[in-house]
């Protein structure tokens, strides 16, 4: 790797010098070649230095390892590297695991009906009016992934009307895929009987066909994994996601849908798993789309951008000032 890196500047430099050096006097070529030589020497020196540094680091690591082994229990504790998650700004809304207030709130919020098993999810997927191929593809993938979902092509119907009609037909959730420049770029997730509405921006999207070694999805109800949703806001969002999937996952289908939150980016993955080595390892086969979402705003009540009550809005200038501050 280092060789390639070093070669590039050399070759470009050589080509430059050769271009210039042809019709010019010998003095110039001599100068250029001497510069070339010094540059090559510098590159080699640089490489040597880097190798030295790496060797020194290896030595230190080995020494520490040995100390740890010999001392065993009494060894100085392993140093914990500083990560962004470690140094995250303290958020007042972080949920403790046994927060009664939170549990009480959650037992009475809009999605409690799902969690008390009063309703089964029925999802309506729709899109911007006159959507293009990519958006349709994405909607098909979502339909495959989320059981009990249907696609509805919106031909200019206003979104509020869609919401009303969907509630009448007893859908529990509405997903609107928003499109821009012929590509899906946002998702409005609305929990229907007057549930909260969230708008996510799709940061990256990969269809199943583009993933290497992709598998075929089945129609078993998937398990859901929701990782790292720590704050109150995160809890609401996670519950909204959970409402999309039916209650009883068929474990025999071994399908798992993961929504993992890391630094406010929610990664969606869809796998089939298999336990290997007597249950000490799990192998994952990726199915289905792979996309990242970022929450832009969360609104109480159904979709009403003009006069709705926003619970949370990402205001860039106020909120994105610190690199250690996350909201989900």
């Amino acid at each position: 790797m280092e060789d390639e890196g070093d070669d590039m500047p050399e070759t470009s430099q050589m080509s430059q010098s050769s271009k210039g050096g042809d019709g010019v006097g010998t003095a110039k070529t001599a100068l250029k070649s001497s510069r070339k030589m010094s540059r090559m020497v510098k590159n080699e020196k640089g490489r040597a230095m880097r190798l030295q540094k790496a060797a020194a680091k290896r030595e230190r690591q080995n020494a520490r390892q040995k100390v740890r082994e010999t001392l065993g229990e009494k060894a100085p504790p392993k140093e914990v590297p500083r990560t962004i998650e470690n140094t995250r700004e303290v958020d007042a809304t972080m949920v403790e695991p046994e927060d009664e207030e939170v549990m009480h709130d959650e037992a009475h919020d809009e999605m409690a009906a799902y969690f008390n098993r009063e309703t089964t999810p029925k999802v309506l997927i729709t899109m911007s009016p006159y959507a293009k191929v990519m958006t349709w593809k994405f909607c098909y993938e979502l339909r495959k992934c989320i059981p009990n979902s249907e696609i509805f092509s919106r031909k200019g119907v206003a979104l509020k009307k869609v919401v009303k009609q969907a509630t009448k037909k007893e859908y529990t959730d509405l997903i609107v895929v928003h499109e821009d420049r012929k590509k899906p770029n946002g998702i409005v997730l609305c929990h229907l009987p007057e549930g909260p509405t969230a708008y996510f921006k799709i940061n990256s999207l990969k269809f199943s066909k583009e993933i290497k070694n992709v598998g075929e999805s089945t129609s078993h109800f998937p398990e859901v994994i929701l990782n790292n949703f720590n704050t109150r806001l995160g809890h609401t969002v996670a519950r909204m996601f959970a409402c999309l999937f039916p209650h009883d996952p068929k474990f025999t289908g071994r399908r798992v849908v993961t929504l993992h939150n890391q630094r406010d980016y929610v990664f969606f993955r869809h796998h089939r798993y298999e336990f290997k080595k007597d249950g000490s390892k799990a192998a994952l086969l990726e199915l289905g789309p792979r996309f990242t979402l970022r929450l832009k705003w969360l609104q109480k009540g159904t979709f009403d951008t003009r006069c709705g009550e926003y619970e949370w809005v990402l205001k860039r200038h106020e909120m994105e000032t610190s690199r250690r501050r996350f909201f989900l």
Partner: protein
């Protein structure tokens, strides 16, 4: 009185401040111009007999130039209000501009129609609701987000996180009887010898459900990096994984359920205690107990039932 030709010559060849020169057209910025182009016939300054149709706040007027008043510029143009009805307005124009040159009459009517059309469209748009708002893409923000997403992806270590979670659930026994691992069998036997409790199916089911709740509880024990929230909610969601008799299991299942709850009975206890609000009906269990579910698999039902009996 007015020498139109001379005026036109001067304006055309010389300088006209209303003229806008573009390739290939010349436009006239004069507000009384009928067509908007800079022509001999369209120039309001160099035609003594001239008329236009203009609208103000949605009301249409016919402006006719009365050349006798050319030295009173303020009174030069005579204004007549046109009716809202288009056909009537057209008739009014014909009437007012009777005996006027064809060109002006025709162009006035055309302009009237055009104005009417755009007024209608404006009204429709007002009623229709908000137009799409164009939000500009901020390149710096986009680049920053892409970069941060990459870093977050690396930090997330998705595959390992998912594997860990699944293995946790396996350990906790959420999958119950499906997986039959020899190592677990060993554990099972040990546990079995330790406790002998009659477990009814309900309890087992409850146990499983409660186990699910446990799964979320990981935050208590596991490392800080990955705290699985969504515990009660989600676990309740994924609650009962068994409607006992029916699951068509392709796997000829393990006879016994997987392994007892394991390493975290104590911690889970405290946690579960709280959890029980929602499920008050469930019996308070919580000791190392092994779930035993009687499931009749299609493959070898008799055998299993037999084994179950033996255990009891």
């Amino acid at each position: 009185m007015q020498c139109d030709d001379v005026t036109w010559n001067i304006l055309n060849k010389g300088h006209c401040s209303y003229k806008v020169k573009t390739k290939p057209q010349n436009f006239c910025r004069n507000e009384y111009n009928l067509t908007g182009l800079c022509n001999r016939a369209s120039c309001p300054l160099s035609n003594s007999q001239y008329a236009t149709v203009r609208e103000e706040n949605g009301v249409l007027f016919l402006y006719a130039k009365v050349i006798e008043r050319s030295h009173f510029p303020r009174r030069l143009w005579e204004k007549t209000k046109l009716s809202r009805n288009m056909t009537k307005a057209l008739e009014q124009i014909s009437e007012q501009l009777i005996h006027w040159p064809e060109y002006i009459r025709h162009k006035c009517k055309a302009r009237l129609i055009r104005i009417q059309q755009y007024l209608i469209r404006m009204r429709k748009m007002e009623l229709k609701g908000r137009q799409k708002r164009l939000i500009p893409i901020q390149r710096k923000i986009e680049r920053r987000e892409v970069r941060r997403e990459e870093k977050a992806l690396i930090a997330a270590k998705l595959d390992t996180a998912i594997e860990k979670e699944l293995l946790e659930r396996l350990r906790q026994g959420t999958y119950g009887d499906i997986y039959n691992f020899p190592q677990r069998a060993f554990d099972r036997i040990i546990d079995q010898e330790e406790q002998e409790e009659e477990v009814e199916q309900e309890e087992e089911v409850e146990y499983e459900r409660e186990d699910d709740e446990d799964v979320g509880r990981k935050q208590y024990v596991a490392d800080f990096e990955e705290s699985d929230e969504e515990d009660e909610a989600m676990e309740e969601g994924n609650g009962v994984h068994w409607s006992p008799p029916n699951t068509s299991s392709e796997e000829s299942g393990g006879d016994d359920s997987d392994e007892s709850d394991s390493d975290e009975p104590t911690t889970s206890k405290a946690v579960k205690g709280k959890k029980k609000d929602a499920k008050a009906t469930k019996k308070p269990k919580r000791t190392t107990r092994r779930p035993r579910v009687e499931i009749e698999y299609e493959t070898e039902p008799a055998e299993q039932r037999q084994r179950m009996k033996v255990r009891h």
